[in-house]
């Protein structure tokens, strides 16, 4: 049966180049996700639910909500990220497609890069839908800081994707994967949470990218360090 997984493996064994493998795997994941669209919907609705619950929990003070808006957005995105990773992991173990993919790969880290890029794309889409809604609800002027906001969002979501994909593949192979994933992911990604929330808050307040450079540097360093670390240790996660 020509499932996306089989055709992807066929394509990969003929072209050993790293980038081709990454793109082939990424295309497979995106095709699977696009067919059902359940994952996007679930992640987006969950992010919106988190934002709404926070809104009710914090109270009716609009000024206070404006101040905590960035924090609420990032919490919603972190939790949506956990949800997305758990769903991806579930899909992978149901299809049992990973074994075939791993055999066809010459460099296993191509799988990590592909999964990380897929997770980043899901998060960017969910973020792209949630943030404007928050702008509406919390009365934020997002159009004025759109460029800087996108930079902060992308760097932060990249960090969440890297750590999330790594721990997602690890937690999937434990007995209590639903518990282990958030327990590992959330504390380790605290630097991203702190830096991204501060950068987003200040950018929304009207500061330029240069003024939030400190936080962007933290995000950038985190992304680079954890990407390198993930490439090194990924083999140990998927080895038999």
């Amino acid at each position: 049966m020509a499932t996306p997984s089989n055709s992807c493996i066929a394509r990969m064994s003929g072209s050993p180049r790293f980038l081709h493998q990454v793109l082939a795997l990424l295309a497979k994941d995106l095709k699977t996700a696009w067919r059902t669209r359940a994952m996007f919907t679930a992640m987006f609705v969950f992010a919106v639910v988190v934002v709404v619950v926070f809104n009710f929990a914090i109270g009716a003070d609009t000024e206070l909500m404006r101040q905590v808006a960035a924090g609420v957005i990032w919490i919603a995105l972190s939790f949506a990220s956990v949800l997305g990773l758990q769903r991806s992991g579930q899909l992978d173990s149901e299809e049992d497609s990973l074994q075939g993919v791993l055999l066809a790969l010459q460099d296993r880290s191509a799988l990590f890069v592909a999964k990380m890029l897929a997770q980043l794309l899901y998060l960017l889409v969910v973020g792209g839908c949630t943030v404007p809604l928050c702008g509406l609800w919390f009365r934020l002027d997002l159009l004025a800081c759109l460029g800087a906001l996108c930079v902060a969002l992308t760097l932060g979501l990249l960090g969440l994707s890297i750590v999330g994909t790594l721990f997602g593949m690890l937690a999937m192979q434990t007995r209590a994967c639903e518990v282990m994933l958030p327990m590992l992911f959330l504390p380790v990604s605290i630097p991203v949470t702190i830096a991204a929330v501060q950068a987003t808050t200040q950018v929304i307040d009207g500061k330029s990218l240069r003024e939030v450079a400190d936080y962007l540097v933290v995000l950038g360093v985190f992304d680079v360090v954890f990407f390198a670390l993930a490439l090194i240790v990924f083999d140990y996660i998927v080895e038999e």
Partner: protein, 247 residues
């Protein structure tokens, strides 16, 4: 000051190194050092003018904190060695160091507020080091839970990965928490003035306490590693019995 360092080195390091060879000797040296540390803390170190008696918590609190960092560094090193050499002994060290590190971490998180409450008037002030300690506690408790929830072939590998990642994250967490902290209002000192710095007597007391804690860490490590190795040996013997009964 230099004379003190030389005396400390001679008095602590050489018996300390020899203690590694012999368990009973280690226990004796540890007991002796702890007694000396306690005597120094309560009878020799001067009472700090501003903070009073409560300041004496500092000696054991900071000694435990530094030992805890050392423990987690050992987890990172042992985890890396395990991934490289695939030797079970390194995994035993990583697991043991993590468990003892979490115990010390818990002690730091309990004594910190007990010190902060009379001085700052509040139990918790999101101080950067204490916040870092809290995040480390979360990460390494997750490490221990991961070990419980993963079965044998992957357990050591996955734990090693988390052990390394957790420690590599430490400078990043510290950096970001300090940046975040600058936005936090600092709690006002209840007692005016604050710490007046360490006198040489206090420094000596602190170093002896630190030495005692390091000896304690290695003693606990020795016991815990031997436990881990017994558990591993038990699993191996059980497997052999199963194989022979099945075959």
């Amino acid at each position: 000051m230099p004379t003190w360092w030389a005396v400390m080195l001679v008095v602590m390091v050489f018996p300390g190194i020899y203690a590694c060879r012999n368990r009973v000797f280690h226990a004796l040296v540890l007991g002796l050092t702890m007694h000396i540390a306690l005597l120094l803390v309560f009878l020799y170190a001067p009472t700090e003018q501003m903070q009073g008696m409560v300041q004496k918590i500092f000696y054991f609190h900071v000694a435990a904190a530094l030992t805890m960092f050392g423990a987690f560094l050992l987890v990172c090193v042992a985890s890396s060695m395990y991934l490289w050499k695939q030797a079970e002994w390194w995994d035993a060290i990583a697991c043991s160091a993590a468990e003892i590190g979490v115990v010390f971490c818990t002690l730091v998180l309990i004594t910190g507020p007990l010190w902060a409450r009379p001085i700052w008037g509040t139990w918790w002030s999101w101080d950067p080091t204490l916040t870092l300690t809290l995040v480390l506690w979360l990460i390494y408790v997750a490490y221990l839970l991961l070990r419980l929830e993963t079965s044998a072939p992957q357990r050591a590998r996955f734990a090693a990965i988390v052990g390394i990642i957790g420690f590599v994250d430490v400078p990043l967490i510290r950096w970001s928490v300090e940046k975040w902290r600058t936005l936090h209002p600092k709690p006002v000192l209840v007692q005016a003035g604050g710490t007046t710095g360490l006198t040489s007597a206090m420094l000596l007391t602190f170093l002896v306490c630190l030495g005692a804690f390091v000896l304690l860490f290695f003693y606990l490590l020795r016991e815990r590693v031997s436990l881990a190795q017994s558990q591993h040996a038990l699993a191996v013997v059980r497997q052999e019995i199963d194989e022979h009964c099945a075959g």
